[in-house]
């Protein structure tokens, strides 16, 4: 990022208040225009409900939304934790032995491009349609990829000067791992976890479209839409966005805390 005085090429950076206000103002304007459009009859209110109508549904179904967000959120959280752990372990294995790195490469490449919709039905059969495990696994797989990739990169970032230094201290492999390798990689891992957080939520949500116990946000979105209750469907979508936002903000806070001093 260029410093403030590179001003010739760019306008002045917004201050903190502007940085917070700008997205809020944009959001309010968009919602306002949407409300006007929805009221004007230019857009079919039936298919794209007005923000006011969505708001009403949010108020009315708040308790259901909360419990649904709980179910989906728990799936996403378990998936995120599981996927992150596996990602870190796999990255450690890959960084410790070239063959493992080579062997994991095609598997990770495949996982990175696999559409959830394709995997959900078979995972439901493998783990049972009456349990949340399939969904948690899908969230886990989605989270695994970015955490693995960023951690693997982070494990390669150890500075040569640090490595030399630890060697001159005659440090053991484990000491080197603990004092520099892991600590250097940590900010990268947490960047990966932040990237993974929204992926985990969206994946847990979409997995609900393909069977399993009911009650999650994804199921409610589809059920509401199928019965033409679009304001309610969008109310659940808003809940889904908020859930994703919550995951993002928490993981962002973690990331910031960890990478304060790289």
């Amino acid at each position: 990022m260029t410093a403030a005085t590179a001003a010739p090429m760019r306008d002045a950076p917004p201050n903190a208040a502007q940085r917070v206000l700008a997205p809020v103002v944009l959001g309010v304007v968009v919602i306002g225009v949407w409300q006007l459009l929805a009221g004007s009859g230019l857009v079919e209110a039936y298919l794209l409900p007005s923000p006011a109508a969505i708001g009403e549904q949010i108020v009315e179904f708040a308790p259901t939304m909360l419990s649904a967000a709980g179910i989906t959120g728990l799936n996403a959280l378990l998936g995120l934790v599981l996927g992150s752990l596996l990602g870190v372990l796999a990255a450690l294995a890959a960084s410790s032995a070239r063959p493992v790195d080579g062997m994991l490469a095609p598997v990770v490449a495949a996982l990175a491009v696999i559409p959830i919709v394709a995997l959900a039905p078979v995972l439901n059969t493998m783990f049972g349609a009456d349990s949340q495990v399939g969904r948690q696994l899908i969230a886990g797989l989605a989270a695994f990829v970015p955490v693995f990739i960023t951690t693997a990169r982070g494990l390669r970032q150890t500075q040569p000067v640090h490595r030399d230094l630890l060697r001159t201290y005659a440090a053991s492999r484990w000491q080197i791992m603990r004092t520099i390798t892991l600590r250097t990689a940590a900010p990268y891992t947490f960047t990966g976890i932040r990237l993974a957080s929204s992926l985990a939520v969206i994946s847990a949500l979409v997995a609900e479209y393909f069977g399993g116990p009911r009650g999650g946000l994804g199921g409610l979105i589809s059920t509401s839409a199928a019965s033409s209750a679009y304001p309610r469907a969008w109310a659940y979508v808003v809940a889904a966005i908020l859930l994703g936002l919550a995951f993002y903000l928490v993981t962002l806070a973690l990331e910031t805390a960890v990478s304060r001093r790289r």
């Binding site: 306008d11 997205p23 062997m103 598997v107 490449a109 495949a110 394709a118 049972g128 966005i241």
Partner: protein, 307 residues
Amino acid sequence: MTEAAIALVPPRRRARDRGARLRVWGWGLAGLFALGILWEAYKALGPADGVVVAGIRVLPRTSDLAMPHLWEMAGRMLEPVTRAEGANPLWLEIVLAASLTLGIAAAGWVVGVVVGVALAVVMQRWRIAESALLPWIVLSQTVPLIAFAPLVRSWGSRIEIGALEWQDWMSVAVIASYLAFFPVAVGALRGLQAPDRIHLELMHTYSVGWWQTLTRLRFPAAVPYLLPALRLAAANAVVGAVVAEVSTGLQGGIGRLVIQYAGQASGDPAKAWAPIAGAVALGLIAAGSVALLGIILRTYRRSEEQA
């Protein structure tokens, strides 16, 4: 490093590292082989109903319904899709569907790239735009696609520009672009902001304006950031296209086969795995194609190679 990333290494270095490349492929194949062994070994040794701990099935069922043998999946590929006369072999059906989806995903990728780069340019130009837009761009990806698949189709059906009538595949491409634009917007923004201060000031001393700085400095400097973003966008476009096909029921694509064969999975469990393999291959091909772009643009990646 992912396979796609390996494909991005420019040919100069590749030729020099032919031995290394062989090793990479060798280990990659070994990895897939190991995965296969793991699958079959667990299927042979694991309990039919999976491993259940405290009421939670932590390891999958091993029944043929849940985990068909690998050779059955492979063998199924060679057999005809159905008993209907003249039916194509399954693999051909997958290839045909995959090529249709690839075309749609490519269209979605192009739209996503254009939109993403445009957003990045706007955000680079006005910092207040970056503040206002970036959080929403991040949030946009938490909206489940399926929520607006019907909307896109419905709005699309009203668009008619001269002779160009809205086609259903275009709805799918638009939805695919929704996933594709995101990494491009973020990556391009980072790339456009990447030039060193010294380079920016140099341009300033040449008293050139924003536009020339953009084209002569920011875009070339953004290439190393843009390429991985474009690769991610390609993978996302494929995922988006498959989801949108499922969502809108578009005929002829791999997404359609996913639901169709999933519906036949009870009697023919191996068949359901074929479109999954197809989707993965598709994603890898799409991401790999971006590698070609990387080769064309290799002059702009010199700094990267140094690193």
